[in-house]
């Protein structure tokens, strides 16, 4: 019988009117990897935040850590002392501070006379980053990093904490949402190292293949209740999906391609960041995928085409407009040309957490509701509510702040923000991140419908199965260049994986 690292019983949590958790029991053995899965809004992040001392649970909950009873609510900031470390869904980094400060804040080891030895701190941080293959300047502001690097910094921080304390539990809330496959490999390797020290890992994820890959046991939450815990070996994908959704899921990816028409977007000789001399065309009705491993440049492309990140050179041409130099393009102009961008950074680039769903979603079209000298807020609310329903955002209350939704529901709402515009070209970075398998299907359906209606989509994603299932064509990147192009019958998950990993450049 394994030693118990964490035992949480009778956990309930209500937010004004919403019961996010309802009598949940959750147990983690020492040194095990435990997957915590469930649909969007099922309460996973809420459970994590109770453990982090972020939320006070309703009375009646009990927590034992390493066999000792710990009283709830946990005082904020006490978790690391108790052997818990976290990667939160929103990462919990402070953008205005440097990597070094983010990694070490509250963890400084003062030397003699209470002075912080910055040299030692710096070395510790560099070592922790190298663990994840990161070679970043530790003085860089976290706000300037790509979403991917930010995620890796947050992960490196949690692991450094766990390593320092030994034992304990690392809790990762959707750490892989931004990670390309090789990043996931590194993460799982690191988890393997940790568990040898007796540290347990709780990992929240919507990618079921990851559950089967790393988890010893799996607990499923549905609508705030724990519907089961089982050794992962006793589950299969169908069973797990049924536990998560409470129903079976049939055909996952939308059937049928759209009619591919003439060229809508032409990118020529785009240069910037790690992208070199990139040229490609996208056609009406087409969903084009961009794939690659960590740092290969494919995730930067949507931002550069949109002018969100300055390019060094190249031109962008949208059908019906003159080609424009990419170096001087601004998001505002790009928008006027008919481009839209869904960034990966949900609460940093895509929407504002403290502002209502109504205002977030209607932001690009708010002028439509300006009639008779004022914004018709009632009409705006009804419209947004309709849109939220259509995109299956739960709960679909236009007046609640965006941050009150679960991560996956935020993503659905923000996708609605852009798709309502029916722009000729949509650029998307990880459009289905954080969305559960049930709703994911809906999102891909939406994208396909938009394409069939004549739009074209350019979508960067680290999920090969999704790219293979949804896209008409996928460009594979290595070191900032296109090295392969897969389409039609040649576009399968296996071939895509092989193309991304292969060291030969085909094309």
């Amino acid at each position: 019988m394994a030693e118990r690292a964490l035992r949480l019983t009778g956990l309930s949590k209500s937010f004004a009117g919403v019961r996010a958790l309802d009598g949940v029991t959750f147990e983690v053995d020492a040194g095990e990897v435990h997957a915590l899965v469930g649909g969007n809004g099922s309460g996973k992040s809420t459970l994590v935040k109770v453990l982090a001392g972020y939320h006070a649970p309703d009375p009646g909950a009990q927590l034992e850590l390493g066999g000792r009873t710990v009283s709830l609510p946990l005082p904020p900031g006490s978790s690391s002392r108790l052997g818990l470390s976290f990667v939160h869904q929103d990462l919990g980094l402070i953008p205005s501070l440097s990597i070094l400060e983010n990694m070490r804040v509250g963890r400084y080891r003062p030397g003699r006379a209470g002075r912080i030895s910055w040299r030692r701190e710096r070395q510790a941080v560099e070592a922790a980053l190298r663990h994840f293959g990161l070679d970043l300047p530790v003085d860089a502001h976290v706000g300037m990093l790509s979403p991917l690097h930010r995620a890796l910094v947050a992960i490196a921080r949690a692991f450094a904490d766990a390593e320092l304390h030994g034992g304990g539990v690392v809790v990762l809330d959707e750490p892989t949402a931004y990670l390309p496959t090789d990043g996931v490999d590194r993460l799982f390797d690191a988890i393997g190292v940790l568990r040898q020290n007796g540290t347990a890992a709780v990992i929240v994820t919507h990618r079921l293949e990851e559950v089967f890959r790393v988890a010893d046991r799996t607990t499923v939450l549905r609508e705030g209740r724990a519907v089961g815990t089982a050794p992962t070996a006793e589950l299969d994908e169908g069973k797990l999906i049924e536990l998560i959704l409470g129903r079976k899921l049939e055909e996952y990816y939308p059937a049928g391609a759209s009619a591919i028409g003439d060229t809508v977007l032409s990118v020529r000789h785009l240069d910037g960041g790690s992208v070199h001399d990139l040229s490609f065309d996208v056609h009406r009705g087409e969903i084009l995928g961009l794939a690659g491993l960590v740092g290969m440049g494919h995730t930067e492309v949507p931002y550069q085409i949109f002018g969100a990140v300055p390019a060094r050179g190249g031109t962008i041409e949208v059908q019906g407009h003159q080609p424009v130099p990419a170096g001087s393009l601004t998001p505002r102009e790009a928008n006027r040309l008919g481009l839209g961008l869904l960034p990966a950074d949900r609460l940093g680039g895509s929407g504002v957490g403290g502002v209502s769903l109504r205002e977030n979603v209607s932001l690009p079209v708010v002028a439509r509701f300006f009639q008779g000298g004022r914004i018709r807020r009632r009409a705006e609310g009804r419209y947004v509510q309709g849109l939220l329903r259509e995109h299956d955002v739960r709960p679909p209350f236009p007046e609640s702040p965006l941050a009150m939704l679960s991560g996956g529901n935020q993503q659905k709402a923000l996708l609605a923000k852009w798709l309502q515009m029916r722009l000729p070209v949509m650029l998307l970075d990880e459009p289905a991140q954080g969305v559960d398998i049930g709703a994911r299907k809906e999102i891909f359906q939406r994208l396909r419908e938009a394409a069939q209606a004549g739009a074209c989509m350019v979508m960067a994603s680290s999920e090969f199965d999704d790219l293979a299932g949804v896209c008409d064509r996928v460009l594979v990147f290595r070191h900032g260049r296109i090295v392969d192009e897969l389409a039609g019958a040649g576009l399968t998950e296996d071939r895509l994986t092989a193309a991304c990993y292969s060291s030969r450049s085909a094309a």
Binding site: S42, P343, E359
Partner: protein, 345 residues
Amino acid sequence: MSTVRAGEPATLEAGEGTAVPPPAPAARRAWLFDAGERYGLLVAWAAVIVLFSILAPGTFPTRANFDTIFGTQAVLLVLTVGLIVPLSVGEYDLSIGGVMGLSTIFVAYLQVQQHWPVVVAVLVALAAGLAIGAVNAFFVVGVGLSSFVTTLGMGTLLTGVGYGLTNSTTIGGISSGFVQVITYQVLGLPTAFFIGLLLTIVAWYVLQHTPLGRHLVFVGEGQEVARLTGLPVAKIRAGSLIACSVLAAGAGVLQAGVVGAADPGGGASYLLPAFAAAFLGATSIRPGRFNAWGAFVAVYFLVTGISGLELMGISGWVQDVFYGGSLVIAVAFARVAARRRNAAA
């Protein structure tokens, strides 16, 4: 929206499981808190009025005091209404005191010492506000300096210029015609009050009811989100600094009319009260956002409190204590309320 929903499974439990009906007491508590937050300041204002009417029955609830409160403080109202514009987009403007002081001085100096027509003097003062706002915007938006530091420097610089122009003395004797216009009583209140009221209404309308106001909020709360949605972020930031500066100059013009003289240190003493009122206002009416009616209530709450204390015989130092204290309390209260509102992100 006309998109059809393909293959919606009939078994989807539409979130019933999570959206249990609210437990009544909790919901009522939330509602009470909400209303309390929204109208708390208004209630506090009423309480202050009642309190001082009891404590100083002979002097507080009088016509003369009413005139002081509503008449002379229109200047602070205009200054505060201007200030909430850049605060909404996340920029500070600490030069408003300097702008206001210089504008008063311009009116007095040009009209009294240079014998210009008062209308021209007023227009020059407003144009100066515009120009200073543009310089602020150039450094903050164009060059990318922090608005806090830039406007702090600018405000001090302008105050210095004011002392230079006046030789550090008060310039009196502003055209009595002009003074009469500004203090002319309509319905028992001076024109200055109605100008302040009108500007409050304009600010409320723009911030609350127009797409521009919505854009300001997003630039303030999430500049990157605003930029990636294609909003003209630079123009909005620059425009807000310019608008604020013009309104500060307008406050200076009103001051010239209300007082009839220009005191070179006059503007600077209004800086802190305007910030106190803006931040206090952001805790009410539309809690969490800088808003015009919140600012209006806050200005008159502060002014009423101070005039009450002064009538009780506590004068001189009490203004600074009251304004300074209110600023700190307002900011602390806003933080606590915000934390309560989004207990989680």
